[in-house]
């Protein structure tokens, strides 16, 4: 097991290296002097010269990369001239809404989609099954921001049940925080529910044809036990895999959803950074999201053994 974890850890090094090279090259591929791009439009020539020496821009590109990656590994992501803060501070401020949104969405989406996926598989061909499949195609097709605005219109403007936009920190007022999380998490959940319910249905369907399911039924176990303990547990590996891959959708969706609901999170920060051409921030956000995505998928890979004892490493 430890051996497997070590091998997987080594395997993600080249992946992250490619990401790092891409993120590093981003700034070099933009037209113009990288130092001037970083410093922004209002920079003085002294500031530009200062950045030039800090980043080693007069050195060959290999040295520049070494300086940059050395800084990144020490947690020094540079300075955002637009926001007048270090990028690390900026990100620390913006993490909470995104993390809260992601956790609420994951909890909600998984607790809805897995049961409906199992039921759809159990009653294959029924009205429920067709409804679930129909919903999942629809969920893939309606863009998140349209769903978000529809929800705002119905629940916040017409019915007045929930606030339209904005964010309250979890430590400030938990109830208000929760109120403001409902619509964004619902919005972001739709695509995720579509994805997971579909894959749950497919993988449970496959398992339901196995001999051990028939045996379990034959020895008189209730449907609930057969479905939950025998079928779902054996179907868990593909479901987990898709949840892991779905994190990419979650991150992309967060960018859009945070903009719709005015949440001051990392997704909104990404858009603000692109609009103000704040490269140190864009680079760091992309690096951060990619590392999170890769690490979550690594953890999911490792967790397979918990669900399926046949998988041995």
């Amino acid at each position: 097991m430890l051996d497997f974890i070590a091998r997987r850890l080594i395997a993600i090094i080249p992946v992250l290296a490619v990401v790092a090279v891409f993120v590093f090259l981003m700034l070099r591929l933009t037209p113009g002097d990288p130092a001037a791009v970083i410093a922004g439009d209002n920079a003085t020539s002294d500031q530009i010269a200062d950045i030039r020496t800090k980043l080693g821009l007069d050195e060959p590109i290999w040295t520049q990369f070494a300086i940059w990656i050395g800084n990144v590994l020490q947690g020094n992501f540079g300075e955002s001239f637009f926001f007048k803060k270090t990028v690390a501070e900026l990100i620390a401020q913006r993490v909470e809404p995104t993390l809260a949104l992601a956790i609420c969405t994951l909890l909600f989406a998984v607790s809805v989609s897995v049961p409906i996926g199992v039921m759809a598989a159990y009653r294959q061909g029924s009205l429920l099954d067709r409804a679930v499949m129909g919903f999942s195609v629809l969920g893939f097709s309606v863009p998140g921001f349209v769903i978000g605005y529809c929800l705002i219109y119905v629940f916040a403007i017409e019915l007045g049940w929930l606030p339209v936009q904005g964010y309250v920190r979890i430590g400030v007022n938990f109830w208000q925080f929760l109120e403001r999380m409902v619509l964004p998490s619902l919005t972001l959940s739709v695509g995720f529910i579509a994805l997971i319910s579909r894959i749950t249905r497919a993988s449970v369907l496959e398992v339901l044809n196995e001999d051990y399911i028939r045996t379990a039924r034959a020895k008189g176990l209730s449907n609930r036990v057969v479905l939950m303990r025998h079928a779902l547990r054996n179907a868990a590996v593909p479901i987990l895999t898709v949840i892991g891959l779905g994190i990419a959708i979650l991150i992309g969706g967060a960018v859009v959803t945070e903009s719709v609901f005015g949440l001051p999170g990392l997704g909104r920060l990404t858009v603000e950074a692109v609009l103000s051409r704040d490269f140190p921030t864009i680079q760091t956000v992309i690096l951060l999201f990619s590392v999170v995505y890769v690490v979550i998928n690594l953890l999911i890979d490792i967790s397979y053994t918990l669900f399926d004892p046949r998988i041995r490493y």
């Binding site: 992946v15 992250l16 097709s141 990419a248 692109v274 990619s290």
Partner: protein
Amino acid sequence: MSAITEEAVDSASIAAASTKRKSLWLVAIRNPNVIIGGVILLTMLLIAILAPFLGTVDPQRIDPAARNKKPGTEITYRLDDGTTMKRVAIMGTDSLGRDVYSRVLYGARVSLAVGVAVSVISVAIGMVIGLVSGYIRWADGIIMRIMDGLMAIPGILLAIALVSIWRAGLITVVFAIVVPDVPRVVRLVRSIVLTVREEPYVEGAISVGTPTWILMFRHILPNTVAPLIVQGTFLAAAAILTEAALSFLGIGIPPEIPSWGNIMAEGRTLFRVFPHNILYPGIFLALTVLAINIMGDGLRDTLDPKMSKKV
């Protein structure tokens, strides 16, 4: 004697196989999902092509007197020759007085063009890289590591990063969406190449000295066509959504070009009072993507039954 009969059997099965391939396409276009999706898509295509003849006005025409009108309002247009023209804005107008109906209809052009362009370009690039990666062993390691790295960056973020490098524009947006899609196509093509290259007929072709490029294009490539068509439709659907999202965030296609994402972006500020600016383009967008996805499901079920079992 036996050799001759074997050959006869062989040619018969080859003939059968080739008719089978033809009939597969016939089955595909008779699939109800393909028909439903295709009809909706064709309607959208006609709307896009015929936009100037469907009672639209110039979608970029700004009219300060007709700002923020609700759907169904009658608007008096002052034409360039001094005469006036009355016209009902069935989808209302936006905050610059531009006609939303005209913008939505012209917007179909941008969305469909982006969808088709992204899927064709990413399939073409991905196919070539996938063939090389699956067939040339020494290149495989390097190519696949780069592809894995690109796939580690969530698609829309990679597109955002590329847009920020290249600055917004129709072509840059298309390429920004193509780059994250290419690794997915490469993986698909490579996996097919890896299985096909072990087939006896490929070994046979190698043993009679077929040049590598003929081998690739005549014997290996045709196996990838059906799965790639299926993959291509899903890529088109996702590309239309991504373009809309980028434009909606204000980092996609320049705002003066009427695309569905841009119309919605413009409608954001006054959404509470005038939801029509988001509603109508949203409906068109969702309907188009839904049609492509339904068609893709149908194509997958008929053309690529192996893949349909997986999902």
